[in-house]
């Protein structure tokens, strides 16, 4: 009965549960916690984990409570699927902003993922160590550039460029969802590149040597051997990029039109991409705008703004969790956690 104190804690617990009376069953967990208390590493890491989890729970709870009035006023479906937002008429529907967020993020990924993964393959499989390190440093520096710098460059360079590019479609101005998407693509490109490269480097060199030894070309080694093994890490890199794209505020704020109440007539219509009069805005640009300041003091309006935060949090949280599950299921080596290093 008296298990050796130095033994595995989990094993000790399960033995007691299996063999002792229900009362003794309580001893198991208590002893486990006691063990954790004595081990400073476990204790401290548990405390910080609990703090992190409590913070998240508190944030969710706060946003939920603060947004309650708008759920009552509009109904859950009415708020999430409503297409009209006029705070002066107490009408709040967030669908156009969810749509804008989705479109902008999709454009960003469509542009950034092929480029980023391609660059990562080149860096990982072709470049010798020294240039590879230089490239990686440069890319990571790019990731550290403040968003507002990207935003200002977007205003100065990207808006006019998109405007000229879209000339045939009569865009009216450069403030389109496409502009926001292209700018976001530039911003998430370093994320995709550097984490993809990490994932690719995580594939053991022995695999490459074996593949080359079997007579595979360099290209075949990269495409058939390294890429499939690094896939979970690549997925993680893409999801991280998506997380950044969903949450990015100020840069998008500056180049998107921020026009309310814009839903396309057809879901696959390209008009919001190419015509600024039909371009809407994202959840983040609404939150970054002046309405956040106006809303304070008006419970319903404030609830609508808090609801935006809740929706955004749910979106980003959902993406992250789906990513984690996908990565775990594919059971990759060097996967999600390696990529997050």
């Amino acid at each position: 009965m008296s298990a050796a104190p130095g033994g595995s804690v989990e094993a000790g617990g399960s033995i007691e549960v299996g063999t002792a009376s229900p009362r003794a069953w309580l001893v198991g967990p208590r002893r486990r916690l006691g063990g954790a208390r004595r081990d400073p590493l476990r204790w401290m890491s548990f405390a910080s984990c609990a703090l992190a989890a409590a913070f998240l729970a508190g944030l969710l709870g706060l946003l939920l409570v603060q947004s309650l009035p708008v759920w009552r006023h509009e109904g859950i479906a009415g708020y999430l699927l409503g297409g009209r937002w006029f705070y002066r008429a107490d009408t709040f529907g967030v669908l156009p902003m969810i749509y804008g967020t989705a479109v902008v993020s999709a454009v960003a990924l469509v542009l950034a993922v092929p480029l980023g993964v391609g660059a990562a393959v080149f860096a990982s499989e072709v470049l010798p160590p020294r240039p590879r390190l230089a490239l990686k440093t440069a890319v990571e520096l790019l990731a550290g550039v403040p968003s507002v710098v990207y935003g200002l460059l977007g205003v100065l360079l990207l808006r006019p460029w998109i405007y000229r590019l879209l000339g045939p479609f009569d865009p009216l101005s450069g403030d389109t969802l496409l502009t926001g998407g292209v700018l976001l693509a530039v911003m998430v490109l370093p994320t995709v590149t550097t984490f993809s490269e990490d994932a690719l480097r995580g594939v053991p060199a022995a695999q490459r040597r074996a593949a080359r030894g079997l007579g595979l070309s360099r290209a075949a080694t990269a495409l058939r051997v390294v890429l499939p093994q690094a896939l979970p890490g690549l997925v993680a890199a893409i999801l991280l990029a998506l997380g950044r794209a969903l949450g990015e505020t100020i840069a998008v704020f500056l180049v998107i039109g921020r026009r309310d109440n814009q839903l396309p007539e057809h879901w696959l219509s390209a008009e919001p991409l190419v015509r600024s009069t039909h371009a809407g805005q994202t959840l983040t640009t609404k939150l970054g705008g002046s309405e956040t300041f106006l809303a304070w003091g008006d419970p319903l309006h404030w609830a609508a703004i808090a609801g935006l935060g809740l929706v955004l949090l749910a979106l980003v949280g959902g993406v992250t969790m789906v990513g984690a599950v996908l990565v775990r299921r594919s059971g990759g080596k060097g996967g999600f956690h390696a990529a997050r290093r």
Binding site: F55, L56, P160, G247, R259, S290, W296, F336
Partner: protein, 332 residues
């Protein structure tokens, strides 16, 4: 091990959480524009009484800044409050609860009938003007003025091409000042009488004056409401306004300062009769070159503009500014 995994998965969520918290905090700070320059709120050690000021949130930043300077340099104690806005300030003055009212609207007959014994003496300290600013191609295309009816039609989307108002055949791109901005309020006051009566429309939105100038100057066919001081006539051009009486008034420092340009409001401080010594000191400071610089820094049109000094100029004409400023507001 399981702890570490959980932390790794929570990481991105927490990052977003922090960002959202920051946004939420930003929202909270918006309510804090009431500010008392005298934290103690009581009489002072050197015996000077507290000067009480109340009124317009538009005028508030200027007077609050002046109160801070006077407190730091001369030990004056001035409390500045914004309960009820301009009308609240005038009411407080009428009831004797404050010595100075701040107002962004003139004293009207209604005030005189409500407080018949009060001798309202408004002093103009500056002006807040909004220009309808257009891109160069619109200006060069021949659009130099709009009436209120034309502006309403454009704002409501009934007119979407410049050719309908005498300009080039080019679509109108309306950049709307985001809600809550004083610029938008002034515009809505002029166009619809009351911001609450403005129609529920959605336009491309802009926030700061910098953003407005950049976007209008870089977008053909663009128009926006822009704080007057930002229209440089090189990249963005301020349209004249055809008044309801049929007069065409261009926004110039002179027409803004004398109030004939309609999309504007005067920034006033009002006393009951001759100002008390403390009130006089505050008003004199506001009218001094330094006080006028405070007006300019707050984004408004200083009185010095009346003497033909460009509103965007770096240096106020110090001597003439004070002279021009000492004239009380016209009875408008």
């Amino acid at each position: 091990m399981s702890t570490r995994n959980a932390m790794n998965r929570l990481g991105p969520l927490l990052t977003i959480g922090f960002a959202l918290t920051l946004v939420a905090c930003g929202g909270g700070s918006g309510s804090g524009d009431k500010m008392a320059a005298d934290p103690s709120g009581s009489g002072t050690a050197d015996g000077s009484a507290v000067l009480r000021v109340n009124g317009s949130t538009t005028v508030n930043p200027v007077v609050t800044k002046a109160a801070e300077i006077l407190h730091a340099e001369r030990g004056m104690n001035i409390t500045v409050d914004t309960q009820g806005g301009s009308s609240g300030g005038i009411a407080a003055l009428g009831e004797g609860r404050v010595e100075v009212a701040m107002s962004s609207r003139p004293v009207i007959d209604h005030d005189h009938t409500t407080y018949p014994k009060v001798d309202f003496r408004p002093v103009r300290i500056g002006a807040d003007a909004v220009a309808l600013a257009v891109n160069k191609d619109v200006w060069d295309g021949g659009v130099h003025a709009l009436s209120r009816q034309q502006t309403q039609a454009i704002y409501e989307g009934k007119v979407d091409n410049w050719s309908a108002v005498g300009g080039p055949d080019e679509p109108i791109v309306f950049y709307d000042k985001e809600p809550g901005r004083g610029t938008w309020e002034v515009f809505a006051h002029w166009a619809y009488g009351n911001p609450d009566d403005a129609p529920l429309v959605s336009h491309l939105e802009i926030g700061s004056n910098e953003e407005g100038r950049t976007k209008v100057s870089s977008t053909p066919g663009a128009i926006t409401q822009l704080s007057f001081a930002w229209t440089d006539r090189k990249t963005v051009f301020p349209l004249a306004v055809v008044t309801d009486e049929g007069q065409t008034v261009a926004p110039t420092p002179a027409t803004v300062a004398d109030g004939s340009y309609p999309i504007s409001r005067q920034l006033l401080v009002i006393t009951d009769g001759a100002p008390s010594p403390a009130a006089k000191e505050l008003i004199d400071f506001l009218l001094s070159p330094r006080g006028q610089q405070v007006v300019r820094d707050a984004g408004y049109v200083p009185l010095a503009a009346e003497k033909g000094v460009a509103a965007t100029g770096e240096t106020a004409a110090a001597g003439t500014g004070a002279a021009a400023a000492s004239a009380p507001a016209a009875g408008s």
